[in-house]
């Protein structure tokens, strides 16, 4: 009965799968391993990754963790939680046992929830992609798992700018990937040597491999494929005067909509560059989101609109898909640069709620 209760407890704690050699005197969860104190006569328990034989132990590196002596048990806390479906070797005294924690049947696998730009037609000098994942991803191998293919299925070379420290949001969900700027900027050697990454008029697929793992080391179950067509390069700065504003109704929290003249804008820079200012010159709190393939910004205030003059503040570093901002083109000719005034950090549009 006692053994049975152990099994129940083990099942309760993260569904442990114990191999045949593992006795009920050992209990494992993702975060710790417990051994009955009476089972250990000397030394500390050691845990190794993989199934290690007796002769291999002396040449193997044990897992980092601390050992805590409790009243009746010895507790081993690994620095990194034990992985799902990963085999381990436990060594104490002269005993060797193997264990593995099986993945729960209802495990929610990693998936791609959104991709920006979402529009299917993209300028050949596109600069950035954003990927929104369902859970934090495994960062070390991220670039190995993103590739672009042409219609023949051939993988394109040197598309992504690999960074030692990946650009990922604090919650680990939004990944920013730069398309190799050296190839996207005219006049640079990689551009001259290899040409722009994408050719106008051609269709490509962006593939996020099913081998991409989540933060717990479990891979996505299927490839994520996004097809797109390349159109002409965008060599024009966004001009805010061409934007159209759908003005909300006073007394409601209806949407303020800003239409970017049918031009999709860069997801990250747009959401962090636009603020709505009330007649008292205070920023209005509310919810900003991009819709219509990032061609429209929707702002929903927390409080109802009041009648009056409002401003839309736009940071000049707001970019279109090709990295052109309100002050400059991404690859300005060095003889022809007209920097905006260094003091001009933002531009304004105005509207009246009435």
């Amino acid at each position: 009965m006692r053994n049975y209760s152990h099994i129940l407890l083990i099942s309760f704690f993260f569904a442990l799968k114990v191999f045949s050699q593992t006795s009920p005197k050992v209990m494992v969860s993702k975060d710790y391993l417990l051994i009955k104190k009476s089972e250990i006569t000397a030394g500390k328990p050691m845990v190794y990754r993989g199934e290690i034989s007796n002769v291999e132990i002396s040449s193997s590196t044990p897992i980092l963790g601390n050992v805590v002596e409790e009243k009746e048990r010895i507790r081993f806390n690994p620095v990194i939680p034990f992985g799902w479906n990963q085999k381990y070797t436990l060594v104490y005294d002269s005993t060797i046992e193997y264990f593995e924690i099986t993945l729960p049947k209802k495990y929610k696998y990693l998936s791609v929830e959104a991709i920006y730009p979402s529009t299917k037609k993209l300028p050949s000098n596109l600069l950035k992609w954003y990927f929104k994942f369902s859970k934090p991803i495994n960062q070390p191998s991220v670039y190995d798992n993103i590739r672009f293919t042409d219609t023949n299925g051939d993988t394109l070379d040197k598309v992504i700018l690999p960074l030692n420290n990946v650009l990922i949001s604090d919650n680990g969900l939004l990944l920013t990937v730069w398309v190799e700027p050296g190839r996207q900027k005219r006049g640079l050697i990689p551009n001259q040597q290899l040409g722009a990454v994408f050719e106008e008029g051609k269709e490509y697929s962006l593939i996020i491999s099913k081998n991409l793992k989540d933060y717990e080391g479990i891979a996505m179950q299927q490839d994520y494929i996004h097809r797109f067509i390349i159109v002409d390069a965008d060599r024009e700065q966004p001009t805010i005067n061409s934007w159209k504003i759908s003005i909300p109704t006073p007394g409601t929290t209806s949407n303020l909509m800003i239409h970017f003249n049918e031009e999709p804008m860069d997801y990250g820079s747009t959401l962090s560059s636009i603020r709505i200012i009330d007649p008292q010159k205070k920023e209005i709190k509310g919810d900003l989101k991009l819709t219509n393939n990032e061609k429209t910004l929707v702002f929903k205030p927390l409080q109802p609109w009041k009648k009056g003059h409002y401003q839309i503040s736009i940071d000049v570093s707001l970019e279109d898909l090709a990295g052109n901002n309100l002050n400059r083109l991404f690859d300005s000719d060095i003889n022809d640069i007209q920097h905006g005034s260094p003091d001009t950090k933002e531009k304004f549009l105005e509207f009246v709620v009435q």
Binding site: Y48, T61, I80, S141, N165, I168, K185, L188, I189
Partner: protein
């Protein structure tokens, strides 16, 4: 006799106080506890055993006192299969582990390697007798400061700020300043920051503009990949390496808040390449600049050549794959991923042609 004892005691006391004062000038505002490190993107040593950590995730710089670590003899350091060993230590697969940086404490020759696991869990390892040991960061003597957002109003925009990431690319300490380079996901631009140490509220940030000779007529806003501080003709300078691969120098006194700086391009080290690390080696009065690269061998540049070069490269390098500017030699080490000084030579993490990732010393012969 009593006078003599008093004198000796006073002398001891004054000496002790002197030591405490000297030791505490940089660590006066250090506190004990958990600094809340969320990532270790880049590390470097300052004086008095202070390790500086660039933490992009928490947008902070942390200074940790590691002076209590005993002096070690790492003259015969060699660890093979470093990536596999680290993965084994964490009980993880090798593709879940990333070595983010390596630093040597010049005062006691201890070697430290920073590692990220999975979604970025930071681990700091110390090399001890060719074995790896974890350094706990939960209870240390530290001081820290936030990396201020250069666009202050972003701080008000919660929605925007969570999207905006600034990843530390490199970090160095020089004469009371912690210097940082990085790249944000918002704009492809070189951002460079200078933060006073001991930390206070004052932070300078600016961008470094370069004329990229290999890149012809189009302006580049490329971010700095790696940099170091040095003295050129006795004056403090920054030497910065960019992708593809211009080498740029800039006097440190020109880094002023909010200013846009134009560095002097002194060498083009070849296209199709990215510099990954650079250090200065001094031996018998001669100084050398070592640059590790992604697609070129380890480069050695003599500082006398660098100091003698007063031109600025402004015209494109037309010959394909060619280099220009200050002369250098290639050393027979390829795929060097991390670099720092050890003894009078260099320590590296190198992916050898066999596939073995090794932590090892380079020969001092190259600098004799």
């Amino acid at each position: 006799m009593k006078t003599l004892i008093t004198l000796v005691l006073s002398l001891i006391l004054s000496l002790t106080m002197g030591i405490v004062k000297a030791d505490s000038s940089l660590k006066a505002n250090f506190v004990n506890g958990d600094p809340g490190i969320m990532s270790i993107n880049s590390i470097t040593f300052g004086p008095e055993g202070i390790l500086f950590i660039g933490d992009s995730k928490a947008a902070q710089i942390i200074a940790i006192d590691l002076s209590a670590h005993q002096k070690v003899d790492n003259s015969k350091v060699k660890i093979d299969f470093l990536d596999k060993k680290i993965a084994d230590m964490l009980g993880a697969a090798p593709d879940q582990v990333q070595i983010t940086d390596m630093a040597v404490n010049p005062e006691n020759d201890n070697i430290y390697i920073s590692v990220h696991y999975g979604a970025g869990t930071p681990i700091l390892l110390q090399v001890n007798n060719n074995k790896l040991k974890q350094i706990s960061l939960a209870d240390v003597s530290y001081s820290k400061t936030n990396i201020n957002d250069p666009v202050a109003k972003d701080a008000k925009d919660k929605r925007g700020r969570e999207l905006r990431k600034w990843a530390v690319a490199d970090i160095r300490y020089d004469s009371g300043k912690v210097l940082l380079s990085g790249l944000s996901n918002k704009e492809f631009a070189s951002t460079f920051r200078s933060i006073d140490f001991p930390f206070n509220d004052k932070q300078s940030y600016g961008s470094l503009e370069i004329y990229h000779a290999a890149h012809g007529q189009y302006e580049t806003h490329a971010p700095i990949k790696t940099f170091m501080t040095t003295r050129i003709k006795g004056n403090p300078h920054i030497v910065a390496g960019y992708t593809c691969t211009p080498l740029v120098v800039l006097p440190m006194d020109k880094i002023k808040p909010g200013e846009h700086h134009k560095g002097r391009t002194v060498a083009e080290l070849g296209n199709g390449n990215t510099p990954v690390d650079m250090i200065e080696i001094e031996n018998e009065g001669n100084r050398y600049l070592l640059i590790a690269n992604t697609n070129r061998p380890l480069m050695k540049m003599d500082f006398t050549d660098l100091e003698a070069y007063e031109d600025v490269l402004t015209t494109p390098v037309t010959k394909k794959g060619a280099t220009a500017g200050v002369a250098y030699v290639n050393l027979p080490y390829v795929n060097v991923q991390q670099l720092d000084k050890l003894d009078n030579t260099f320590l590296m993490i190198q992916r050898e042609s066999s596939g073995n990732l090794a932590l090892k010393k380079g020969s001092a012969w190259w600098f004799q």
